[in-house]
């Protein structure tokens, strides 16, 4: 198991969370906890940079959806950046590629 790390850096358009490691049943609450603490302003864009993500299960997808819900509640946007191929396959399978804005990398978010 790879430990989950969430590193934040703020840009002019909004916060970028670099999520790395395994986003699974045991560790998804870490990301959920970070999101609860994250303050977003209307019009900002929350970027989740997933380039360091090793694994993501249904609990991880739930956490991504929670991030989306958190952003919507703050009238902010959400973007998934650098989604690994395996996760992209699953997101497409369940139709979430239509729900999330996907970007090749986080720097393109601005």
């Amino acid at each position: 198991m790879n430990p989950l790390t969430v590193r934040q850096h703020d840009t002019t358009t909004g916060p970028v969370l670099h999520v790395a490691g395994d986003l699974d049943f045991d560790q998804a609450p870490v990301l959920r906890g970070r999101l609860d603490q994250l303050s977003l302003s209307p019009g900002q864009c929350l970027v989740l940079d997933l380039s360091g993500l090793e694994f993501c299960d249904s609990s991880g997808i739930t956490a991504l959806l929670a991030a989306r819900q958190h952003a919507l509640a703050a009238e902010a946007d959400v973007v998934l950046a650098a989604v690994p191929a395996n996760l992209l396959r699953v997101l497409t399978l369940v139709g979430l590629d239509q729900v999330f804005t996907l970007r090749p990398d986080s720097s393109a978010a601005s």
Binding site: F55, S59, T62, L65, R68, Q69, H70, G95
Partner: protein, 440 residues
């Protein structure tokens, strides 16, 4: 110590001599004193028990004066009531028979009323003709030893009590666990049916594998009539596991059942479910969702043909094994996870099952099963398609049996619950196909 070699010092001989002299002086003094002040009690009695001689040590232990004892008391007068009884029934007869006794535990009575636990040894002294003359008795203070024995006894009783309590607690815990297991089994049956109903003109088969037996499953399926020859069925997978997943499963199952009776259109049943889940969970900031495939099957032509209309929200595509040996997926593109966004798009597809055709629904426990060392070495849809082609044509029972065998082969790679549901039109025009269920 051994002395090895060396010349003995002359002074040493003198020292040794004076030490010996000191010892001798001490020992000469002792015959009488040794008896009176010995570290144990001594007494001698006549054969009738009358005390003839007793040492100071024993008198001091008992708090008695010599004058009050010698010639006036018998040995039994020194004993407690219990001690007297024991003396009468065991001590005296044994002593008469054997001539000596060793280490008998008795209680002596002190003048102040207290008792003195002792160990008694006795020997009969005989005269030259062999006639018994008197009894010599030694008495050892056993207070400490008796206290130790009492302590041991108390500890043992405590240990036995603790063990009894632990046994009782374990019995209670086992009873609780059994009751909980019963409750879980009842709840589990409310999530997936025990057995499928018989559907006229169709053969059905199902398999349900729970990854961990003590967890309520996150997969669900059902098959039920919705009027006339029309039957509804669904199969899906809720996110998460445990009781929270089970409550979501329960809401999902009963919502779909009610929705199907209200409007037997697969897409609108899932749309209703989507609205219910979104309102209940995601809208409140606690996203919970499921993938689900919902179908309606009804007569559609000659030779028992059936029309199958499917709707899917984010669920892996259904699989059809045709009577001609082909296998194909029934993709439902565009369908989204149920419960994530309001008015989520639902994917739909329609097919006709001819005689010998079988449609299979499955959860991603199968396609996402790990088949290698990495977390991303998954069984996958391509492998499943190949497997299905190898087993086409097949009746629902045959297909489910083959897939169950596959799951068993994957074994430890099955991280997730897996549900399989197959419906088929019998190849030969036969009356009613038997329903077959596998629940594991």
């Amino acid at each position: 110590m051994c002395r090895t070699g060396g010349v003995p010092e002359p002074a040493e001989t003198g020292d040794e001599a004076s030490t010996n002299a000191a010892f001798t002086a001490l020992l000469e003094d002792s015959a009488e004193d040794l008896y009176e002040s010995a570290p144990c009690g001594y007494l001698s009695t006549m054969m009738d028990g009358t005390i003839a001689k007793i040492n100071t040590t024993l008198l001091d232990w008992l708090g008695l004066e010599r004058e009050a004892v010698v010639g006036r008391k018998r040995f039994t007068d020194l004993l407690t009531i219990g001690g007297k009884l024991y003396h009468e029934t065991h001590f005296a007869p044994l002593l008469r028979m054997q001539g000596e006794l060793r280490g008998i535990a008795l209680d002596l009575r002190r003048l102040d009323g207290g008792r003195l636990p002792v160990l008694v040894s006795a020997v009969v002294k005989h005269g030259t003709e062999g006639e018994p003359l008197l009894i010599r008795i030694t008495v050892f203070d056993a207070s400490d030893r008796r206290a130790y024995e009492q302590e041991l006894l108390r500890r043992r009783e405590e240990a036995e009590r603790a063990r009894a309590e632990a046994d009782e607690a374990r019995r209670q815990a086992e009873a609780d666990r059994a009751r909980l297991a019963d409750a879980l089994a009842v709840l589990q049956r409310s999530l997936v049916p025990d057995s499928l109903p018989d559907v006229p003109g169709l053969e059905t088969a199902v398999h349900y594998h729970t990854a961990s037996p003590d967890q309520l499953g996150g997969d669900f399926y059902d098959l039920f009539p919705v009027g006339g020859d029309r039957w509804a069925f669904f199969l899906g997978d809720v996110c998460g596991k445990g009781p929270e997943a089970a409550s979501l499963t329960s809401l999902t199952r009963y919502t779909l059942r009610a929705a199907a009776h209200h409007d037997p259109d697969p897409a609108s049943a899932l749309a209703t479910l989507n609205a219910v889940l979104h309102e209940r969970y995601t809208g409140g900031g606690n996203p919970r969702y499921c993938t689900c495939i919902f179908g309606i099957i009804e007569p559609g032509g000659e030779h028992g043909r059936r029309v199958v209309r499917l709707a899917s929200g984010g669920h892996p595509p259904a699989l059809v094994l045709r009577s001609d040996g082909r296998a194909e997926f029934l993709p439902t593109p565009g369908g989204l996870l149920i419960g994530v966004v309001p008015g989520a798009p639902i994917g739909t597809v329609e097919t006709v099952l001819g005689p010998g055709d079988t449609v299979v629904l499955y959860t991603d426990g199968l396609t996402e099963a790990r088949t290698g060392p990495g977390r991303d070495d998954l069984y996958g849809e391509d492998a499943l398609h190949t497997f299905a082609t190898d087993h086409a044509p097949g009746t629902p029972h045959e297909v489910i049996t083959a897939l169950t065998g596959l799951l068993e082969k994957i074994g430890d790679g099955l991280d997730d619950d897996t549900a399989l549901l197959a419906l088929g039109v019998p190849a030969a025009p036969s009356p009613l196909g038997p329903a077959t269920n596998h629940i594991s």
